[in-house]
Amino acid sequence: MMEKEKVLALQPSSQGVGFAVLAGAESILDWGVKRTRSGNKNANALKVVQGMIQHYRPAVIVLENHSSVGSRRQPRVQRLMDGISRLAAKYRIATCRFSRAQVRKAFAFAGARTKQQIASVVAERFPELAPQLPPPRKIWKSEDHRQSTFDAVSFALTFYEAKRTQQRAA
């Protein structure tokens, strides 16, 4: 009675860290956004991530590849992502990074290209997330903080898709 390998996907943003814990592509164990609004945001976020690592003992941590072409993550968030990678290494956990282009490719089967479309596909797949699906973003508004949860799930699903493709090729 072994469980599929657990994946902790993290999507840091200006307001906090969106996270999703999956045990296989069909099973989501936890999700949400940990808000880090005051003080040293990166230090607070790293503490939160450390807590999640200790709680869930994931096999892999999935992050966005902030050095990929087209990535526009702010320098603080980039430093946080690098900090998370170092933290993962300390716990001997593998880190996988995917670009937004890879995520779009993984969701191409559903014709989803934008973050909003991908979030809708995620909400269809995991109906328990549907109540948190943010409404379509108005061009003059900043991104809803709940979007980072859906982004984290999409990264985790991209990881499973990449793994499946790899296994098929082998």
Binding site: M1, M2, E3, K4, I28, L29, R57
Partner: protein, 120 residues
């Protein structure tokens, strides 16, 4: 470490049910949401009575909700069974001991996966 079960899946089941910790505390007749939070964070073990209430709430067996705890307990039981089995085999035989050896041997046969690990 990756494929081990978590000690419990209370948080996952609660979130799948879209319930808050306050609501779970109310349904279970618990002291407060803090108690539920402690169960979810593995800071505190629920009593058997509370564990059964969780089973009634989620409609899933205890060994699934508390999968990691069950696995850990199963390992201890099987290891001790094995020790007792070996001790009895070395002891002088009487009908009662022979019966115990048969029963323990059959249990151990069924639980061999716990000792050798599951097939991948």
């Amino acid at each position: 470490m990756s494929s081990e079960h978590l000690p419990n899946y209370l948080r996952a089941h609660r979130k799948w049910s879209a319930l808050s910790q306050d609501e779970v505390a109310f349904i279970l007749d618990c002291q407060s949401s803090k108690t539920v939070s402690r169960y979810e964070r593995y800071d505190r073990q629920p009593s058997l009575e509370t564990a059964l209430r969780f089973e009634a709430l989620f409609g899933i067996g205890l060994r699934e909700v508390f999968a990691g705890m069950f696995e850990q307990g199963e390992k201890i039981v099987v290891r001790n069974m094995q020790l007792l089995f070996e001790k009895l085999r070395a002891a002088p035989r009487d009908p009662r001991t022979a019966r115990k050896i048969r029963v323990l041997g059959s249990f151990l046969e069924k639980k061999r996966h716990v000792l050798v690990g599951p097939r991948r």
